[in-house]
């Protein structure tokens, strides 16, 4: 009997699993839109990295976006329309990103919130042909030119721009003395994105800076070898996510390096400070969206919302605030599109986003887009870690390209 039961259990298990999979295909999402006299929901698709290689910063960013949607919906929505967001974890895998993008757009998503360079690059051609305004956390300068990528937007300053800002700062600080700068970067398009533009800026402005770049190999447990090569550098600029940047900072501390550590925006946050500990001291961050500090400007809305959850913006961190304001900017674009009248199409939202001028966030300079430039900021302030917290050391610097 035992053996009989076991034999029968196998096919039953298979049948159950298969059956369960096929039964779940109901399309619930359309049901909501016809509630009484309320206006139709605006569908938003989103993909986040919640369990992949960039999940450390991807998770708070996604919380910021999701919470903004909740906040906006409870306070009346966008011009009376509720935002209906569907999202999934794509594990930083471009194939999954393509699959999910296709699903959400076919389910009627009007706009799309992406995440990193991998998915944004992979989806670029489809976003253009589908005419879906796409806002991501990838700040690659290649996405800012509407003649090439008409539907890609990001609210921050591009990586290249952040690089120019810090190079200008270094040049000004050192007056006319020649200085060597080493850039440690993630070994991917995300990491290499600002290198060429940085070199070009030095050549164009005739700065007395020697610029050398070092790749931080994926999965490396230390960067001692690269630090050895970069001994002459007075400044070490890091373009990477917090975890490897923290390892680098620790290595530098162990090697008793006197170089000044600088982080571009994806490692200049509290995750880095927590992971690097004492080694994070004196790090300078180029942060288009300032890290939240108690009583800081631009956090009032967020704190009111988070009060119900017994937490605040400072606890949630910089990624959260950036996610919040990214969604706020997208909502502003939708609002402009609705105000212009007519159908809410991708083209309308694109025009609505391009209309945004001097959108105030409080955590950054005012954000503007135009029909010729799709990055929200050209400037960024500098912050420095002192006693484990970020202190502003420089008002936003704006440089010419």
């Amino acid at each position: 009997m035992n053996r009989f039961a076991r034999k029968l259990a196998l096919p039953l298990c298979v049948a159950l699993l298969v059956g369960a999979g096929c039964g779940k295909d109901n399309k619930k999402s359309d049901a909501k839109s016809s509630q009484g006299a309320t206006k139709a929901d605006i569908k938003v698709g989103a993909i986040f990295d919640l369990s992949g290689p960039t999940a450390d910063i991807g998770t708070p960013y996604s919380e910021g976006i999701r919470d903004y949607v909740d906040y906006r919906n409870t306070s009346g929505g966008v011009d009376g329309h509720k935002l209906a967001m569907s999202y999934s974890d794509f594990k930083y895998d471009p194939t999954t990103a393509g699959q999910l993008y296709g699903q959400y757009v076919s389910e009627g998503a009007k706009v799309f919130m992406g995440w990193g360079t991998a998915d944004t690059e992979a989806l670029r051609p489809r976003v253009t042909s589908d005419k879906v305004p796409f806002m991501s956390a990838s700040n690659a300068e290649t996405l800012t030119d509407p003649s090439v990528t008409p539907y890609n937007f990001f609210p921050g300053a591009s990586y290249s721009q952040q690089m120019r800002i810090i190079l200008q700062y270094i040049a000004d600080k050192n007056k006319d003395k020649p200085v060597e700068v080493a850039v440690f970067h993630n070994d991917s398009p995300f990491g290499t994105s600002p290198l060429e533009d940085g070199k070009k800026y030095i050549a164009d402005k005739k700065l007395k800076i020697t610029f050398k770049s070092y790749a931080m190999p994926k999965g490396a447990t230390d960067y001692v070898a690269q630090i050895g090569q970069a001994k002459a550098a007075k400044y070490i600029i890091v373009q990477n996510v917090p975890s490897p940047a923290a390892v680098l900072a620790t290595n530098l501390a162990t090697a008793k390096s006197t170089a000044q550590l600088v982080c571009l925006n994806y490692c200049a946050n509290e995750i880095f400070v927590k992971k690097a500990g004492a080694a994070a001291e004196k790090m300078i961050g180029v942060v288009p969206f300032a890290p939240p500090v108690p009583g800081g400007s631009g956090l009032e809305e967020i704190n009111t919302f988070l009060k119900t959850k017994n937490t605040d913006a400072v606890a949630k961190g910089q990624g959260y605030v950036q996610g919040w304001y990214t969604m706020a900017v997208m909502s502003e674009g939708i609002k402009n599109a609705l105000a212009a009248g007519g159908d809410l199409t991708g083209e309308a939202v694109k025009a609505g986003l391009e209309k945004i001028t001097d959108f105030k966030t409080g955590v950054s300079d005012p954000i503007s887009f135009s029909s010729t430039f799709h990055a929200g900021l050209l400037s960024a302030p500098l912050y420095q870690v002192e006693g484990g917290v970020f202190k502003k050391i420089q008002d936003p610097i704006k440089v010419e390209k």
């Binding site: 295909d25 999402s29 369990s51 993008y101």
Partner: protein, 352 residues
Amino acid sequence: MATATGVFHTTYRKDLALRHTRAEYVRLGLLAAVLVWVPFNLNPYWLGYANLILLAAIAAVGLNILTGYTGLISLATAGFLGVGAYTAANLTVYYHWPMPLAVLSATVLAAAIGAFFGLPALRLKGLYLAISTFAAQEILSDRFRDWKWLTRGHGTIVTSYPTLGGHHFKSKFEWYWILLVITGLVVFAAINLFRTGLGRSFIAIRDQDIAAEVMGVPVGRYKVLAFSIACGLAGFAGALQAFYPDGQTVTWENYEIAKSFIFVAMIIVGGLGSISGAVYGAMFLTWVPAYITRIGQTLQKSSFHFLIEKLSAVQLALFGFVLVVFLLVEPRGLARLWQRVKEYFRIWPFRY
């Protein structure tokens, strides 16, 4: 080979047939009916995954020929998907070749490079060979990243939809039929391969390569040939995927070592040394993560909000757990599981 009681092979023709009993034909008919039913009844989400399964099955079948039938481990499947994708995309986008010709050339190039990286198999076996193919994978993904000329400095290549007489193939529905025919042909060819002398030689090499050599099998040449078949099929799948509507951007992030392991998992879960097993494995490893993602999406619309935060971590754990359970229940994979189900019903209600 006896297949069922009372079925005798009275002619050579009958002896060579792939199917012998009426039940087998009925099952084939049912399968065909399901395959025709699928595209008309699945929503775009699942139809997309059906297409990904068909694409994965091509490469998995190739890998099973190499690993399951010839006994040579390869951890470089993703690298060869990349060789196929980069070649086909380069030829169509920068040299304006027609898509079928580009895919064909990509397959040939992947097979040639595969033969080169298969050379260590002449001296190495088992885990040592696994390490050398691991090196091949790393070399390939490193080149995809660093050779700027592959993408003309853009980092990615964007392909366009294949066209035929002014018609653009851009719907998943059309692709399903194209991929179904192609994958069907690959599976049919692979099944028949093991009815030929070449296929039998592969099996002989797997079971005992010294004995195979004594019997007159050119072991070295056939090992390299097995590599080039497997890598060629991987390249073929990669080249097709480069034009597939959901993945029209060729980027190196798609061809990393993690993906190679997925393909190894496919043939182990499906069943080593079984062509149908490779297809089952491709179904299982594509479908289960998609299904778990779907659960996550469904939960967003329900009241289980607190679960969603944890789900992304749980997804991976759940996936691993399902894999372990399946391998515990049947170490020889889904193909063997299916055989046991058939055997059970054949003699039901008797035990044996």
